[in-house]
Subunit: 114 residues, 2 copies
DNA sequence: TCATTATATAACTATATGCTTATATAATCA
DNA sequence: TGATTATATAAGCATATAGTTATATAATGA
């Protein structure tokens, strides 16, 4: 069961976070598929600190979770966040990012473990 | 018929706009009921220029419409905006602002024309 | 253990944002 | 017409934000 998020501050805080193109796209990507930082650096064509700082904000808000696999840290959307119902509705409006993941595969830059 | 808003920039731009507590609350209010600037000044307990500037941003994005009645200019949510489907989903998560309108009535500060 | 790779964090900078004060425009009313 | 009321806009300021560079931490592998 997901309980409704009915608090003005939390809604506006969440919208402010996702009012950034990079973070909004990240959520769309990480909803479908967990990614490590270096994959996101490749996808967003930006610096590693920039990616880490965006992820930090999403994590602080509880929107993503992380787990380490060896040297990599993988991030994905936290399905148990209080804001998840809102998040799901939002990212439905964001264009699919599947092509980004396919690009990664093509370039052989996809990280996979186990 | 409402057509889906499927553009990353427009979605993130809309979320950034509504990632402000004042503007988010305004949209919730103006969805239910048109208000003039002076009513919003009373409700938000802030300055008139501040309210006007927020409304300006919402209007520039096409999210609200205005019409003058005598000396007052009334604003309301524009149901024909390209983002309306997204807006409706968003403001469903915002707590009702009915009490604000009731407060106005009680204080005799509600503007009505015709 | 040392070098390499992945990630996080800190400090700095440039730009964006929201509010304030002051002023301009527009409508109403005496 | 002049005073009042409602609203918009401009300029200035303080804070927030996102990116950069430099550095720290952590895991891997030779």
């Amino acid at each position: 069961m997901s309980f409704a998020l009915d608090d003005l501050d939390e809604v506006s805080q969440t919208l402010k976070l996702l009012g950034d193109k990079t973070r909004l796209t990240m959520m769309k990507l990480l909803e479908k598929q967990e990614c490590c930082v270096c994959e996101l650096v490749e996808i967003f064509k930006t610096s590693q600190p920039s990616v880490s700082q965006h992820l930090r904000k999403l994590k602080d808000a509880g929107l993503v979770k992380e787990h380490r696999k060896g040297q990599w840290i993988f991030y994905s959307v936290n399905p148990n966040s209080m804001q998840n119902e809102l998040i799901q509705k939002l990212i439905a409006f964001v264009p699919s990012q599947d092509h980004e993941l396919e690009e990664l595969d093509k370039k052989g830059l996809r990280i996979s473990c186990d």
